[in-house]
Amino acid sequence: MDLTGLVAFNVVTGIATLFLITIGLGVIYGMMRIINLAHGEFMMLGAYTAVTAVDHGVNIWVALLVLPPLVVGLIGLAVERTVIRFLYGRMMDTMLATWGISLGLIGLVTTLFGNVVKAVPTPVGSFEIGRYGASLFNLVLIGTALVAIVALLGLLRFTKFGLVLRATMQNARMAAALGVSPGTIYMATFALGSALAGLAGGVLAPISGVSPDMGAAYIARAFITVLGGGPAIVTGTGLASGLFGFIDELVSFQTSPVIGDVALLCAAVLLIRVLPQGITGRFLRRSL
């Protein structure tokens, strides 16, 4: 019974982690059809923001949850203004450009911080599920993911910005005829997606270890989850994270994390074979 509780807790943590590492990519890809190959490096920058802030004595919660999205959001804004905005509608070019940015960021961070793994202290201890100890910080991950889901759904559904965003993604030319400036909306969306990547990097920093090439560990899973989720970004990412995270954690528990990743990949291949448009391409089409 205790073990079941622990496994269930770990499964939920895995789902929350997968959602957090995916949602920034999902916002940018789902809304703008831009494949941001620098997504993993944006997460890495978020993690380094947390490391640097903690080193300078900033409150640990601010360093993990507040500064990374702000800093990486601003970096994303700069990247959009200087590179991405010239490449809208040219998918291959944006892939090349963002890949180049990712390599450049890895090189830059290696030069600045060295090619070593840095660590951020975990701000909270552990608690007990029966006979087993579980990390309280996992609850922080789960809470962050929940807040992100609710905030994004609220933003899209209830704010004027969300309405304009959805309209622009459906038909930017028509939105322009109603007075919307699509360039501004794209800029804001890219910054939002970057900020979410930064948040993921910051909140995962204490448990993942922070190194210049850490982004590579996440990017494949994030892409698979975005594709599995389909066109409804938040709901789709949530459902795909739920499915893939569940399979990954359960198989990892029974065997090893490597086999867990293999199982995740197999599940994704099967899912895309059955639902080429992702989960929300078939179900819950009107969700956000």
């Binding site: 004027k160 309405l163 304009v164 959805r166 309209a167 459906q170 038909n171 030319r173 028509m174 939105a175 322009a176 005829a177 109603l178 007075g179 919307v180 400036s181 699509p182 009107r286």
Partner: protein, 246 residues
Amino acid sequence: MNGTASPPPPSVPLLSVEGLHSGYGRIPILGGVSLAVGEGEFVGILGHNGMGKSTLLRTLMGYLPATAGSVSLSGRAIAGLSPTARARAGMGYVPQGREIFPGLSVHENLRMGCLLGGAPEAGRIEEILGLFPRLKAYLDRPGGALSGGEQQLLALARCLCGAPRIVLLDEPTEGIQPSIIEEIIETLQLIGRERGLTVLLVEQNLNFIASLSRRILILKKGAITGEVPPEVARDRAMIDEFVGMD
């Protein structure tokens, strides 16, 4: 909105177009279009497929760059502006194919229309729905689930929510059931009487264009070749003389 007859002919036209050239890439479509639309005037442009009707409106709205010529709104040159800037300057656009946001509800489509115009959203939508009572039953439905005719009404209502100074109306009868065409005519006549709405319409439906337009311009091979009064436009034989393919 005083319910009296249409306003007197103005001295400075609201929309003025001089020698407008445009096309797709290197293929020229418009070869020097000149026209003027006065405040409160309803001007129709009649032409066959391929004569440049939609191209003209797309160029006026800024989707296609003008390669030569000038466009001004109340004397202000707007030829170099983006569609966004033109919309903000008061140009309303109801495109061919209607371009409803399919995943937004009817109400959300109208809210998008209210971005411009400055009036409080709820009151503005209420007011516009008074002109389009048919839409009231569908407010929560996704725009993409409406029939073609209902989408056309929605596109028109959405445009009017932004209180445009001039409405560019691109073939509103295309693929629409006749009952709704009549409804659109009546609605536009009502709005024209009550508010002196300024409209530039391109159409090939003779009944529609003749019922609404004060003047009808003939667009042929990318240029305005003549003007006919609306009474003449009802006579297909005479119109064929004007609009014919040669």
